[in-house]
């Protein structure tokens, strides 16, 4: 008698044939995460280091693009000032869906040490954030770990459905 085992808890108990489209789309999306070059302060240096040869973001298919039209993920690397807040919103709106946001470092998470009048107290006051990376500044390993977790998150979603609107408003 043939030995077979159906895992009803995996993939919502659906047959593999229906989920494989999801899987292959998500596999493609998660392994070609093109990031927007968005270094706002010193975290941007760590982001550049992540892209350079020693840490080598290309291994994950993460290539930095200088245009929001070509980018999938916005890595908010650095202090977000109130003067700049409208532009981060504009760049986020210009990115095509599906799109994701990584908030990198204390300043982008909460305002960090800049508890002042001129700093936005957390990038999530302006745009929805998928992943927060702690650190001041986070090491390139942290950013790589964050991107791998984001890949895992993308694979967990249904690809066929339009991305749920993640706007604050």
């Amino acid at each position: 008698m043939a030995q077979h085992k159906v895992n009803y808890t995996q993939d919502g108990g659906l047959p593999v044939a229906l989920t494989s489209i999801d899987k292959i789309v998500n596999w493609g999306r998660s392994n070609s995460l093109w990031a927007l070059t968005y270094g706002l302060a010193c975290c941007g240096i760590e982001m550049m280091a992540s892209g350079a040869s020693r840490f080598d973001f290309d291994r994950y298919g993460t290539i930095f693009r200088a245009s929001p039209r070509q980018a999938d993920v916005m890595i908010v690397a650095g202090t977000l000032t109130k003067k700049h807040a409208e532009f981060i919103k504009r760049l986020y709106d210009q990115m095509t869906e599906p799109r994701w946001v990584i908030s990198m470092g204390s300043c982008a998470n909460t305002g960090g040490m800049f508890n002042t009048y001129a700093t936005v107290q957390g990038a999530d006051r302006i745009i929805p954030v998928d992943l927060y990376l702690p650190g001041c500044a986070p090491r390139p390993e942290t950013l790589q770990y964050g991107v791998m977790l984001l890949q895992k998150k993308i694979r967990a979603n249904k690809a066929g459905n339009a991305q749920k609107a993640k706007r604050l408003m």
Partner: protein, 268 residues
């Protein structure tokens, strides 16, 4: 010296809050003890009224009348070889006697000397621009306007330089709160989403020492990461975040933490 205050609850409360603290002055010397400065001072005194002059930390400080500033700097640049304006700005003395102190730091590369020209203006009074003499005064005067609200007459582009054009308030005034006033607190929300979004987005969290381990809307506890909005209870098991799902990913090698190599040789 500042008076000692207990620092056992510095996280909860700033131990140093005196915004009007005035640092003690270092000793002042007579101008006569430096012949270069003495000659410069004579040349300035011949044409303009000098209210006070002394040497402090090997730099001469002179106090003049506000309306003389363009003439004094022109004289210093063209005849006394002070060819650079290193810095100019204002000092807020509004709490003391309702005045601003304006200073111009001059540098002579040939004489290797520095002179600081100062004068007082009343609150609300404008100064004369020296942008025609020194190009560096262009941005300095704009910054002075931005930070203190002091306008410079004759400046070609008297607008804010650091803060946005539609900002209200002048942040370097001692009466301006460090964490911003009502306008500053809601600036980006009002501008991008409109005033009606204030209720939805909520006020800024300004307490840097605030830690709430039951808050999963903002941060997860390390080792106990949960999806956003999950109810956190006390008896939670630690969660280990793996890079990949149990089943692995097509064409991508499964990361095995056990077999990964740790490079501990710093000289590799």
């Amino acid at each position: 010296m500042r008076a000692y205050k207990p620092k056992d609850d510095v996280q909860a409360k700033a131990y140093y809050t005196d915004r009007y603290y005035v640092a003690p002055q270092v000793p002042k010397q007579d101008v006569d003890c430096d012949e270069v400065f003495a000659a410069d001072l004579e040349a300035i005194k011949a044409k303009f009224e000098v209210k006070d002059a002394y040497i402090q930390v090997e730099q001469m400080v002179i106090y003049i009348n506000p309306h003389d500033i363009y003439g004094v700097l022109e004289l210093m640049r063209d005849e006394l070889e002070y060819t650079q304006l290193s810095e100019m700005s204002a000092i807020d003395w509004l709490a003391k006697d309702n005045t601003f102190e304006i200073f111009y730091q001059m540098l002579s590369m040939t004489k290797r000397k520095r002179i600081r020209v100062k004068y007082f203006i009343e609150n609300g009074q404008a100064v004369d621009s020296v942008e025609k003499l020194f190009r560096s005064a262009d941005w300095s005067e704009r910054e002075m306007y931005d930070m203190f609200g002091i306008e410079a007459n004759g400046h070609p582009f008297m607008k804010r330089i650091l803060m946005p054009y539609d900002w209200q308030g002048h942040p370097l005034l001692k009466t301006y709160p460090l964490e911003g006033d009502e306008f500053a607190a809601w600036y980006e929300v009002d501008k991008i989403y409109g005033k009606e979004a204030r209720d939805i987005i909520g006020p800024e969290l300004r307490d840097t020492a605030r830690v709430d381990r039951y808050d999963s809307e903002r941060f997860a506890r390390l080792g106990f990461e949960v999806p956003k909005g999950t109810e956190i209870t006390d008896d939670m098991e630690p969660t280990v975040q793996e890079y990949q799902e149990d089943g692995g990913v097509f064409l991508i090698r499964k990361v095995d933490k056990e077999s990964s190599k740790v490079i501990d040789d710093p000289q590799r």
